[in-house]
Assembly symmetry: C2
Homo-oligomer: 132 residues x 2
């Protein structure tokens, strides 16, 4: 039942990352705090548009806001990236495992049927040329 919440927050994180403007903002913030106007400056769009992007980054908790008088200091928050990276890594691991199993199978066949063994006995079960 905790799954459904982390599902949603993963959604929010990935949605937030899936836009070049927002990725640029995050890039900037990963180098240090900034105000809204500063963040908006490099972009050929209204301040309002950037403000909305920031809200989406906040929804994903990738960005935090600290009100300091009339200006808002935005800062990067790494946490959600970890979850996203973990998800991606898990699929990669699964897939790699599967390909390795396949390699093993193919190699077993090869080893059994092969009539021209060229450096065959070196125990090479590792992932090698498989397309990917």
């Amino acid at each position: 039942m905790r799954d459904i919440a982390s599902q949603r927050s993963l959604d929010h994180t990935l949605i937030a990352l899936a836009d070049p403007t927002r990725r640029a903002i995050l890039q900037r913030l990963s180098e240090g705090e900034a105000r809204v106007t500063e963040l908006a400056q490099p972009f050929a769009m209204s301040l309002n548009a950037v403000s909305k992007h920031i809200r989406i980054l906040e929804r994903a908790r990738l960005v935090r806001r600290r009100r300091a008088g009339r200006e808002h200091r935005l800062s990067f928050n790494q946490g959600p990236l970890d979850a996203a990276a973990a998800w991606i890594e898990a699929r990669r691991a699964l897939w790699t495992a599967r390909l390795d199993a396949l390699d093993a199978l193919l190699c077993a066949e090869d080893c059994a049927a092969s009539t021209a063994p060229d450096k065959v006995s070196t125990g090479q079960t590792k992932k090698k040329g498989r397309s990917r």
Copy 2:
């Protein structure tokens, strides 16, 4: 000028990942090939809806299609995940580097100003309790 293309493909990858249905489909496919109907079966939505999700996964090149008679065999393609993981890792690295630099600064101050040195001289410049 190659950047703009890889930007777009990163967009497509992250957009594709930013939906729970599509992540579930990818999860399934990372365990092995499947047909459209098989993929659709676990979901409480029309076959058509799933078909559309698959098209988005194909646009991101996360899924490949092999027509075999009247049925289409879908398979997982890991490549785009690598790019996404790389982007995420780069921001994490930047951020971590920055926090470490900050820690170093703070520690330098602490070391200079501290009047109640409790195990101070142990050369602890490492990242420790910083929030994250």
